[in-house]
Amino acid sequence: MVATLVKLRFLVLRNSLKRSVWQLVAVIIGGLYGLGVLGFAVIGLVALRFAPVELASTILVLAGSALILGWIVLPLVTFGIEQTLDPARLVVFPLPMGKLLVGLTVAGVLGVPGIVTSIAALATVATWSLDVLTAIGAFVGAVLGVLICVIGSRTMAALSTSLQSRRRFRELSGILIFIPLILLGPLIAGLAQGIRNSSDALPGLARSLSWSPLGAPWSIPADLAIGDYGPAALKLLIALATLAVLVLVWRRSLALALVTPKASGGHRVARGKTGLFGVLPATPAGAIAARCLTYWRRDPRYARQLIIVPLVPVLLWFYSNNLHSFALFNATGPIVAFLLALAIYTDISYDGTAFATHIADGVRGRDDRIGRVAALAVIAVPLVLLLTIASVWLSGSWNLLPMLLGLSAAALLAGFGVSSVSSARVVVPVPAAGDNPFRSAPGAGFTTMLSGFAIWGVSLLLVIPAVVVGVLSLVFDSALLGWLTLVVGLGLGAVFLVLGVRMGGAELDRRAPDLLVRLKSQRGAA
């Protein structure tokens, strides 16, 4: 049974690699990278065998804690949760819950990250090969640590799924609760910054972490090595309890997720209320804008992209504080403008086959483009204005406002133009509507990243003129050049926007049915 699940996992991986050469390349690069990191880690761990016990235990506890945290948090922030074996798809088979959990765990450990983690963790046995008892402690700790990593990440996946199945969490608020989690990164970095200033604090941090679920498994052998049998036993208990709690939470939320149908109704409005459709102009473009805005509110895949709005200023504020210069913080407006404008670079992928409505209804490409950009503008323009003005206000550099507004306008308008062209051409796999927005779509990954970077590059190129004038205004401390940046940003931006809408519109008029074919094959792949 368990073996069947594991086999299934590799079969799915193999077949999905067969479909796409790029994904294979990505996996090979990832594998080589993993091997490199692993090699260094193993060498380091063996070398630690000859270091003082105090140093070895500090390093191992800190690294081990970071490892567990990484397993749990990273998937949420970066590539999405890998769900090759989606429990929801296994629900039709008569599998006892216990076997399902074991199977999913083993399959998780046998993935590439799981194998790398396991080998590194087992290498700690070499570090602690001081005497038999310590080595056994290291082995037990390593096994517990790896299990906490894998099961912790599965628990997180199941939790996020069962949260998603409640309507309230499927909308905007579902995204907001993840913001503190994502800010955890800079917070920890800040903590580390403080610690670096006083490296004496590291052993202290390690000591306190060793009593937490993150560090406990790794510090069992450390305590044994210095003969602290009592604390070692307690830490073993902490690690076991952590694992037990994780399994329990996983089991419960999985059981809940498996019996909770995804479409739990609830949203209802009175008849005759068409929302934004009654407010925006009654034209095809106006209707499309209203539809897009409705989706920005109701579809978490869109809302997810708004995470950057609070994230960028906080990060920049943090770094500015470290550098004792507000130059970075002042760039908040332009950076958010740049990122937000590209939020719809593959808008039609998000429509999926529903895009057929636009084709069947004979929507002109230009109207389609204008509607989508207008909807984004309604959200992005006020936010960018607000952030630009607020950053200048906080840093007290009002004289920079025209220049910064110019850069924001350049980034926003050029980005709108680029998105208008790219979303008529680029179709990438995205999570389906109603899916967990944090889940990585099958077959996404490397190709998505490539097209994303290409589009960033193009819009960076288009912003260069405004940036050049802006930098000159800073170099010569010239108010006139600052105002000129604003003129260039607005003027050139407007030109790029009009060009983008025209080109994207013409592209759609020519090739919309071919786009639909690609959207359909995308859905088939999912």
Binding site: R271, F277, A354, R364, G434
Partner: protein, 274 residues
């Protein structure tokens, strides 16, 4: 059906601009349509003429190419070769003009289902360029007609399969097309709603509109349609009025006779135990 109040009259197709002295072109004329997917020839030189005012049934086994044909006819899928004329307008030369004449319910594509039912129909009406008051009036009529008033404010994603079909039909009707192309409109629709939809479509045809439906349900096609075409392996096997096609037998028997593939096995032994 008399006990179900129908507050609005059936939607009427827009008046046909008939050039005097000339015979009006057929509602839909497909000529030599070809579509190839990889090695598979999905539609093979398919030609079909749908006269104005007919209620045309398109039947065929699974994978016969019905959906592919209708997609090419309505501008959703580019044919490798061939032509689709809607009331004489070439779908692939003047798509905007042709699409304005067609109401389309396609199988296998999603709707913008994060909108409420009312929003979705409104959206379609506005996309066709109708003005706000006109759209509001028509949406309200259509929701009443299809018995969707209770669900008007519910998101389409929360609809049942049958309700989703009905709201898609409303979307296809909102711009009063002269030709309705419906791919599997009765799939998973309950019998009462199906009968209602049938009445609506019949009324629509009586008022001069043309309807094409694809279906698996022979019985339904025989009772509802006046014309029928049997499609298999991407070709039209036979086309004409229902009476011509079925001859003395039922449509279902004639279909099986034409398409073949009927087996009389009782299935493997292990499946017969219970």
């Amino acid at each position: 059906m008399t006990d179900i109040p129908v507050p609005a009259p059936a939607p009427q197709p827009a008046a046909a601009p008939v050039a005097p002295g000339q015979p009006a072109p057929p509602a839909m004329q497909l000529t030599g349509l070809v579509k190839r997917f990889g090695d598979k020839l999905a539609v093979d030189q398919l030609s079909l003429t749908v006269p104005v005012g007919s209620f045309y049934g398109l039947v065929g086994p699974n994978g016969a190419g019905k959906t592919t044909t209708l997609s090419m006819a309505t501008g959703l899928l580019r044919p490798d070769a061939g032509q689709s004329l809607i009331h004489g307008v070439d779908m692939w030369q003047e798509p905007l003009k042709a699409k304005a004449l067609v109401g389309n319910l396609s199988d296998g594509v999603k709707l913008f289902d994060r909108l409420t039912g009312e929003q979705l129909v409104t959206y379609n009406g506005l996309l066709f360029g109708l003005d706000r008051d006109e759209v509001a009036q028509r949406v309200s009529d259509l929701l009443a007609l299809l018995d969707l008033e209770q669900a008007a404010g519910t998101l389409v994603v929360d609809y049942s399969a049958g309700m989703t079909k009905k709201i898609a039909l409303a979307c296809a009707l909102v711009h009063a097309p002269r030709l309705l192309v419906l791919d599997e409109p009765f799939e998973s629709v309950d019998p009462v709603s199906a009968a209602n939809i049938r009445d609506i479509l019949t009324g629509y045809v009586q008022n001069g509109g043309t309807v094409i439906v694809s279906s698996h349900v022979m019985d339904l096609v025989q009772r509802m349609c006046d014309h029928v075409a049997v499609v298999a392996n991407g070709r039209v096997l036979v086309a004409g009025t229902v009476d011509e096609v079925r001859g003395a037998s039922t449509l279902e028997d004639r279909f099986v006779e034409l398409v073949g593939g009927r087996t009389h096995a009782e299935g493997p032994e292990w499946l017969r135990r219970s």
